[in-house]
Every structure is written in structure tokens, then in C-alpha cells.
């Protein structure tokens, strides 16, 4: 009986509340993406497996494969071998 609330607690703890767009590198090598927001342009480098929160109020990201995507500020971007999937 005690386990049920504990399990629920654990389930909810994994619930991450997004406050910014999250870039995650799930590929095998480090990548560099260019981020442009109202404060200007800057590069974000991601080690394999690393993730970084960027631009809470929206920005543009240039991916390693040359694609440019606009982010509203709440997305999670998974970068894998230069391409991205956005959730």
C-alpha cells in the first residue's frame, strides 16, 4: 500500500516542467549549433548526451546539417547526427 503513493511520487518527479527550449545531443559526436535570439547570435556546443536550456522566449537555431528551425520557447530538440527532431 505504501508503495503506490511512492511510485506515484516517483512518476511525477520525472515530470519536467519546461521553462525554455531544451537542446539535447543524442548523437555520438559533439555538435555545435548556432542560436539567434533578441540578444544576438551565439554558438552552443553540445557534448554527446549533453543537453542545454536556451531562449525561453523563442529563438532560431541553425543545425549542423544546415537546416534552420524556429523555436517558440517550450520545445525539446533532440539532435542526432546533425538532424533534429522537435517535440
Amino acid at each position: 500500500m505504501v508503495r503506490i503513493p511512492l511510485a506515484l511520487l516517483a512518476a511525477f518527479t520525472t515530470f519536467d516542467h519546461a521553462v525554455a527550449a531544451t537542446l539535447t545531443n543524442s548523437g555520438s559526436s559533439a555538435v555545435v549549433v548556432q542560436v539567434a535570439d533578441s540578444s544576438g547570435r551565439y554558438d552552443v556546443s553540445l557534448e554527446p548526451g549533453a543537453s542545454e536550456d536556451v531562449c525561453p522566449s523563442g529563438c532560431f537555431v541553425t543545425l549542423p546539417n544546415g537546416d534552420r528551425i524556429g523555436l517558440g520557447g517550450q520545445e525539446t530538440v533532440d539532435i542526432h547526427d546533425g538532424a533534429a527532431s522537435v517535440n
Binding site: L8, F12, T14, H17, A36, S38, R41, G70, G72
Partner: protein
């Protein structure tokens, strides 16, 4: 006291209205400014879908191009408006909107890009040399997709550039505004001869201009808009009559001062001050607003005259408001209604000075509004403000020499004492500061300060009165005396305590209203723009960032709301489950209670978790805290946690349920409640004993009614040795079998327990379906036994005691002694005879050591039946 009740009747709506009025007065000057602004920038870009309804790329391209043009025009507008703060605020909003549009356009393109990428991956790379060629269609599709991808990237690239440019323009506007704010206050315009002569000619020109403009407007209005003018005047006079007569008729009793009342309570003084200011100022400002509205809607006002009229109307409202407020606070002619402790003369002079300052300040605003409307040179505004600042400075200095403080005797007619030193010092410093600042050339600063002294002062006083009213309402038991309090009591049928708490809430509401309205008004008068305040409020509610943590009030509020909703939902579900499902399924009461309690905990935990995540609090960061806390819990909350867990085990395992008859340690009684920490056991004497749950888990608990209520009761019976045991057993068995509540299976039985000291002991053992009937059954059977025994002549022996008396020596002395004690003759003789007999039987060697006559008592062992 009746007066108080009437007066304090409705603070809340009154305060709201008053502050609204102040707000409207405060906003009028900004309305004037707004009218002088150049026409607004083009509206935000319209969706360009109409250009190419079927091609989202083309539509996006059109939007981006439009936005680019818009950004250019906005940039040009910013260059024009470098000195106009309000305009810059407006432009900043537009630039931000543009940035959002651009971002949204490119975000909308993203799904298509993903689709293309996915399809291209499916198609694979083009065949290399040596590999078999692929189908023509595949190549074509790949080329087309690659092309589209390139276009999307190009558009997004442009959008990116545009977005960065938008961001930098927004930053530039902010920088401009910041500089503007500091520059205006510190801009120096030294007083020179040239300036004075320029101002002299400008004044002449302005006066002529003003005359011409007003004359032409009046003739225009009279000739062309006569009907409208008259209608507008009639309508606004009608509206004013409605406001004034309606206000006075309905609320007049609130603002009349009772001259006969020598010492009205503070709360009535406050309320009269509040209402009299509020109602009259409201009536006037409504009249002014409706006048302006009618003149405006009938097109009587021309663009050149409208700002002047608006300024004139708003300063009339402002001056009247300050005048009423000053009269309300100082009550120059009615010392007993005064809110502050000043003398009569002091009150009169203070009112005069305050009103004079407001008039000067308002005139300054009116004249500068006229200057702006007529396009007069800036130097004129500077000179007017200089004069106004000098006059206000002089008034402040003269105020510092007044003697307003109530005389030591407390008689307001006497000449008062001077200001406290710091107050007079402050006034002199302020006045001198204004004079020096204005004369040295910092006219902007002097004007700003002098405006703040009157405007901020008035708002502060009003806020202060509001806060005092809040205090008065939340004072114990005072809310019940107010009209609203009485209404609330009647309407919601509250008792005294609840009403007092309602008063506390009402008082808090008044505070909140006073602060929430007063602070924005002060900020507005300090040069902040409405848009700034809106932005702040928006930020305050959506995102407050402290370091890395960002808190959102709306989030927290919605979290709390969701939690409360969850709580209510759980309660409802509990009731439904208990009352409908389980009751109809004939579930045992104890199980129902366990399930209900368990569901309750689960619901609260769920609601809490959902509420926390809805409030935007990252639970993973809480997990860290929980990890650190668990150590502390291990030590500090050990008992409580163990009790809680024990409580859950009790609910699940159910060694006993609510309603059971339990015995634990020294406690015996019925279980009344199993809660988080402890279980409540009610003894048969109706004493509630709270037993910690862990005690119930760790110690042995006896439960009479664990599986069912079946139980055995015993009735011990003793009969005399002369009775026939078989007959007794038959009687007992017969009685047991005949009783309707005694179970036949298991059978009742009679046990012959043993040979007692003076009785034969039996025990009748009965099984009952419900132990709770034990007392009744035992009573019935016992009565039956008694009746049967009497009928059959069976004796229930009483405890018996044999007394053996051994007399030594001659019986004569015993007889004498008994006679002396007054024992009747025959008894004494019998005893004597017995003694002699005993003497004769006694052997010579058996003589006791004791001398004379002894009573040797031999006590029989006795047993209670």
C-alpha cells in the same frame, strides 16, 4: 453609535469608486498628451495567406517581407520620437509584436521541414557511381524536396536576421527611453536675458493665438454646432443633476456631519471624510467626463481645442478633489470632525496652502497644454513652469512658519504650536530646493518635484485614509456594526465569530484595494507609463525570475486552484463510493471506512502532486530536497512517519475496523476513528482515548468483534449443598435453551465447577450471535434462575460464618460480665451453660495460658459466591 453603523456601512465600494475617480483624474493629463501624438504606426502585419492561399512557403515569404518593411518604418518612427516617452513605449510594444509574428511564421514552417527531412531519409542518398540507377520518379521527388528544403531554410534565415534586427531595435528603444528619463529631469535651461525676452514676445504671441483660436472655435460651435452644443450642455447638466441628487439622496446620510455631536468616534470621522470626498468628487468628475464625452461625440471639439478643454476639465476635477480632501481631513470649521490634531487657524491655513499649491500646479499644466496645442516655443513652457515652481516653493516655505499643531490645552480655538522641528525643516528644505532648482535652471526637476508634492501627496492621503478605514473595519467586532456587516449577517446567516472573521477579510480587502490602486497611481504620476505597469503586472503574474528559479503567480494560483479542485473531487468521489457503490453492495461498515480513508489520502496526494506540477515547480528539484530531508525525517519525524505507516497498515490489514470492540493494554472500548497518526477508542464510559497507531501495530490488540460478533458469555451460579445438582443443571439448561437470543449451535452448556466453601458452584455458558446483547441475555437468564430456584425451593446460600466461643474456668464470671454488658438473661444463661459444658469436656492439660475468661474466636474461611 448609530451614527457609526450608518457611516461605516459601505467602505469597500466607496473606496473602489474613489480610487477609480482618482485614477480617471490621473489619467486625463496623459490623455491630453496622447492626443498630441502623431498618428499611430501601421497595424501589425496582416496574415498574408490571401496572397497565396495554397502555398505556405509563399505566404511565409510575404509575411517576412512585410515585416521587414514594417521594421524599417518602425525604425524611422523611433528616430522621430526620440524625445517622446509615451510614443517610444507604444513603438516598443509594436516592435515586440513584430518579433513575435516573425518567430511564429518560422515556427509554423518547422513541421514541413521535418516532413521533408523524414521523406528524404526514406528516399536515401542518390546512387553512387557503379550502383544501379534508381527510378526517375525518385530522383525527381528528391530534387523537389531538396529544393523546398532550401527555400524553407532561406526564408527562416531571413526571418532570423529580421528577428535579430527587431531585438536590437527594441533594445535601442529601451536605451533611448532610459536616457530620456534622466535627461528630462536633469536638463538645465539657465535663465538668461535672451530667454526672458524671447519668452516675453512668445507670451504675447500665445495670448493672441489663444484668443483667436478660442474665438474662432466659439463662433464655429455657436454657428455650426449650436444644436449639438446646447444638447451637450443640457445632457451634461442633466447627468450632473442625476449624479449629485442621486448621490446625495442615497448616500447623503453618510457625509453629513452632525454638528451637535461633540466627540464623534474616530471611525465615523474617517468615514465622513472618506464619503464626503468620494461622493462629491465622483459627482463632479462624472459631470466633467460626460461633458467632454458629449462634446466629443457631437464633434463640437476641434483637434486644436480638444486638448485645452480636456486639460481644463481635468484640472477642475483635480483641484476640486484636493479641496474636498483637504476639507475632509482638516475640517477647518468643525474641529470635532477633524482627522488630525491641528488648531482651527492651522487647519484653515493648511487647507488654503494645499489648495493654492494645487491650483498653481494645475494652472501650470493647463497653460503648458495650451502651449503645446498652439505650438508655442518650448521656452514658454519653461518660463511658466519656473513661475509655478517658484510660487509653490514660496508656499512651502510660508507653510513652514505656520503654527498648526494643537495647543497644549487641547483647545482648537487657541493659537497652535509650531510644527515639529523636522517637519518645518523638511518644508523649508523642499521650498528652498524648489526655488534654487528653478532659478538655477533645473526647471524640469523643479516642476516634477512640485507636481509630485501635490499629486502624490493627495494620493498618499487618500491611501492612508483607506488603510485607516481598513484598520477600523478589521478591528474586533466593528464589522458587525456596519451596514455591510449587518447585510452579510442577514444574507448568509453568520454568527458573531464568522462575522468578525468576515470583517477581517473585508478589512484586508480594503487594504489591498487602497494599495493596488494607490501605488499604480503614484507610479503613473512619477512618469511611468500605463504600458510599463501592464508589463510589470504581466511579468509579476507570469514570470518572476530570481536567479535560476522562475516563479509564476498565475502558475502558483492555478496550482492551488487545481489542488482545491482535486480535494473537492476526492471528497465527492469518496462520498459517491461510500454512499452509492459500497452502501449498495452491502460492504461492511469497517471496510467502507478503510476504503474511504485510503481513497481520501490517495486523492490528496494526487491533488498535491498535480497542483505542484501545475504551479510550475520542478518536482525533480523537490526530489533533491526530499532526499536531503529524508535524513531529517529519519531522525526527527520517526514517530510520526511510523504512526502514519502504521495507520496505512491498519487500514489495509484491518486487524480492527471502526465500530469494533477492542482491548489494548489498559484500554477497552469501541474504535471510533482510524486517522493518519492515531486511532480513537471510545471506552464504555464514553471517554475517548487516542492511541498512536504504532502502538496498535506493535502491541497485541484483542478484538471481540474481529470476524463476527459471536461470543460466549458465562453466568456463575451457586446453590446450597442441600440442593440436587442434576435438578439445578436441568433448570439452567432449560432456561438457556428457551431464551430466544441464545444460539443452539454451539450449544449452551452447564459446568459443575466445584465444591465451594458453602455452596455448589455451577457455570452456565451461552453463545450469542451478537455479543452486544450480552447484558440483556444475562439479565433475563439471571431473573429466570432466581424465579425457578424460588419455585423449586433451591437455596442460593449466603456466605456463612461460624463463631465458636471457648470459656475457661467458672461460667459465673461470664454470666456476670454479660449481664454487665446488658445481654438479655436467656442468652446469657445459654452461654453460661455452654461454657460449663465445655469446661467439663476440657482436659486438665489443655488449659490456656490466658487468665480469666477469654473469648477465642475462630474465623471460618469464607468465600463470596
Amino acid at each position: 453609535m448609530r451614527m457609526v453603523r450608518k457611516l461605516t456601512g459601505g467602505f469597500r465600494p466607496a473606496l473602489a469608486g474613489c480610487l477609480l475617480m482618482v485614477l480617471s483624474l490621473g489619467l486625463l493629463p496623459s490623455a491630453i498628451m496622447a492626443q498630441q501624438q502623431p498618428p499611430a504606426a501601421p497595424a501589425a502585419p496582416a496574415p498574408a495567406a490571401s496572397a497565396a492561399p495554397n502555398d505556405p512557403l509563399a505566404a511565409a515569404r510575404v509575411t517576412i517581407d512585410q515585416s521587414e518593411r514594417q521594421l524599417k518604418s518602425l525604425s524611422g518612427l523611433v528616430d522621430q520620437a526620440v524625445t517622446d516617452d509615451a510614443r517610444l513605449v507604444d513603438l516598443k510594444g509594436k516592435v515586440d509584436d513584430l518579433g513575435r509574428v516573425v518567430l511564429k511564421t518560422s515556427v509554423n514552417l518547422r513541421p514541413r521541414l521535418e516532413e521533408i527531412a523524414k521523406r528524404l531519409t526514406e528516399l536515401g542518398d542518390p546512387p553512387k557511381e557503379g550502383q544501379p540507377p534508381e527510378a526517375q520518379e525518385v530522383t525527381e521527388e528528391r530534387n523537389q524536396l531538396t529544393d523546398e528544403r532550401g527555400r524553407i531554410n532561406a526564408i527562416t534565415g531571413d526571418a532570423e536576421n529580421l528577428s535579430v534586427n527587431t531585438g536590437s531595435l527594441a533594445n535601442r528603444i529601451t536605451e533611448l527611453r532610459r536616457r530620456l528619463f534622466t535627461d528630462t529631469l536633469t536638463r538645465r535651461s539657465p535663465l538668461t536675458y535672451d530667454m526672458l525676452s524671447e519668452a516675453g514676445t512668445a507670451i504675447g504671441a500665445e495670448v493672441d493665438d489663444f484668443k483667436r483660436t478660442t474665438a474662432s472655435w466659439i463662433s464655429f460651435a455657436w454657428r455650426i454646432k449650436q444644436l449639438q452644443l446646447l444638447t451637450a450642455v443640457m445632457l451634461s447638466i442633466g447627468a450632473a443633476l442625476v449624479f449629485v441628487s442621486g448621490g446625495y439622496r442615497m448616500l447623503g446620510f453618510l457625509i453629513r456631519r452632525d454638528r451637535a455631536d461633540a466627540d464623534p468616534p474616530y471611525i465615523s470621522r474617517l468615514s465622513v471624510a472618506f464619503w464626503s470626498t468620494l461622493i462629491s468628487a465622483m459627482a463632479l468628475s462624472s459631470f466633467l467626463a460626460t461633458s467632454y464625452f458629449f462634446m466629443d461625440s457631437f464633434n463640437i471639439l476641434r483637434p486644436d481645442i480638444a486638448p485645452m478643454v480636456s486639460a481644463a476639465l481635468s484640472i477642475i476635477g483635480l483641484v476640486y478633489f484636493v479641496w474636498r480632501l483637504a476639507h475632509a481631513v482638516f475640517a477647518p470649521t468643525e474641529p470635532n470632525w477633524r482627522l488630525v490634531r491641528v488648531s482651527n487657524t492651522g487647519a484653515k491655513w493648511l487647507v488654503t496652502a494645499i489648495v493654492a499649491m494645487t491650483v498653481v500646479n494645475s494652472l501650470d499644466y493647463l497653460l503648458s497644454a495650451i502651449s503645446v496645442a498652439l505650438g508655442s516655443p518650448v521656452v514658454l513652457t519653461v518660463i511658466k513652469s519656473l513661475v509655478a515652481s517658484v510660487i509653490i516653493g514660496l508656499i512651502l516655505i510660508s507653510m513652514s512658519f505656520m503654527r498648526p499643531v494643537l495647543a497644549v490645552s487641547g483647545n482648537p480655538d487657541e493659537l497652535g504650536r509650531p510644527w515639529p522641528r523636522f517637519m518645518s525643516g523638511l518644508l523649508r528644505m523642499a521650498g528652498l530646493g524648489l526655488l534654487v532648482a528653478a532659478l538655477v535652471g533645473y526647471v524640469g526637476l523643479a516642476r516634477f518635484v512640485s507636481t509630485q508634492i501635490t499629486l502624490t501627496g493627495a494620493v498618499l492621503v487618500m491611501m492612508y485614509i483607506g488603510i485607516l478605514s481598513g484598520q477600523a473595519i478589521s478591528a474586533q467586532n466593528s464589522f458587525a456594526g456596519t451596514l455591510i456587516g449587518q447585510y452579510v449577517r442577514r444574507r448568509f446567516k453568520l454568527d458573531a465569530v464568522a462575522l468578525d472573521q468576515a470583517g477581517l477579510v473585508a478589512g484586508f480587502g480594503v487594504y489591498l484595494l487602497a494599495l493596488m490602486t494607490g501605488i499604480p497611481l503614484i507610479l503613473l504620476s512619477w512618469g511611468f507609463q500605463v504600458r510599463d505597469l501592464e508589463l510589470w503586472a504581466y511579468r509579476l503574474f507570469t514570470e518572476i525570475t530570481i536567479g535560476n528559479i522562475s516563479i509564476s503567480l498565475v502558475g502558483i494560483f492555478s496550482g492551488v486552484l487545481i489542488f482545491i479542485a482535486g480535494l473537492f473531487g476526492t471528497r465527492w468521489f469518496q462520498r459517491w463510493l461510500d454512499g452509492s457503490v459500497m452502501a449498495r453492495s452491502h460492504v461492511d461498515l469497517g471496510v467502507r471506512n478503510s476504503v474511504k480513508t485510503g481513497v481520501g489520502y490517495l486523492g490528496i496526494a494526487l491533488a498535491g502532486l498535480i497542483g505542484i506540477s501545475a504551479a510550475g515547480i520542478d518536482l525533480s528539484s523537490l526530489a533533491l530536497v526530499a532526499g536531503a530531508l529524508s535524513l531529517g525525517i529519519g531522525f526527527g519525524l520517526q514517530n510520526i512517519v511510523s504512526n502514519f505507516v502504521s495507520g496505512l497498515i491498519l487500514l489495509v490489514e484491518r486487524p480492527f475496523k471502526v465500530g469494533d470492540w477492542v482491548v489494548t493494554g489498559t484500554t477497552e472500548g469501541f474504535v471510533r476513528r482510524i486517522s493518519v497518526r492515531a486511532t480513537e477508542i471510545e471506552t464504555f464510559q464514553h471517554q475517548s482515548i487516542i492511541v498512536p497507531n504504532s502502538d496498535l501495530i506493535n502491541a497485541s490488540v484483542g478484538n471481540w468483534t474481529h470476524r463476527n460478533r459471536l461470543g460466549r458469555v458465562e453466568i456463575p451460579v451457586s446453590v446450597a449443598y442441600e440442593s440436587d445438582p442434576n435438578e439445578v443443571m436441568d433448570i439452567l439448561m432449560d432456561l438457556a435453551i428457551k431464551h430466544p437470543m441464545v444460539l443452539h449451535n454451539p450449544e449452551p452448556s452447564v459446568a459443575f465447577m466445584g465444591f465451594g466453601a458453602f455452596s455448589l458452584d455451577f457455570e452456565l455458558r451461552l453463545y450469542l450471535a451478537d455479543l452486544f446483547n450480552g447484558t440483556k441475555v444475562r439479565n433475563d437468564i439471571r431473573i429466570g434462575i432466581l424465579e425457578q430456584f424460588r419455585e423449586k425451593g433451591i437455596v442460593i446460600p449466603l456466605p456463612q460464618r461460624n463463631l465458636n466461643i471457648t470459656v475457661e474456668g467458672d461460667g459465673q464470671s461470664l454470666e456476670a460480665a454479660l449481664k454487665e454488658q446488658g445481654v438479655p438473661q436467656p442468652v446469657a444463661e445459654k452461654l453460661d451453660a455452654a461454657a460449663r459444658r465445655a469446661q467439663a469436656e476440657k482436659k486438665p492439660g489443655d488449659v490456656d495460658e490466658t487468665h480469666g475468661q477469654d473469648l477465642q474466636l475462630k474465623r471460618d474461611r469464607s468465600r463470596q459466591s
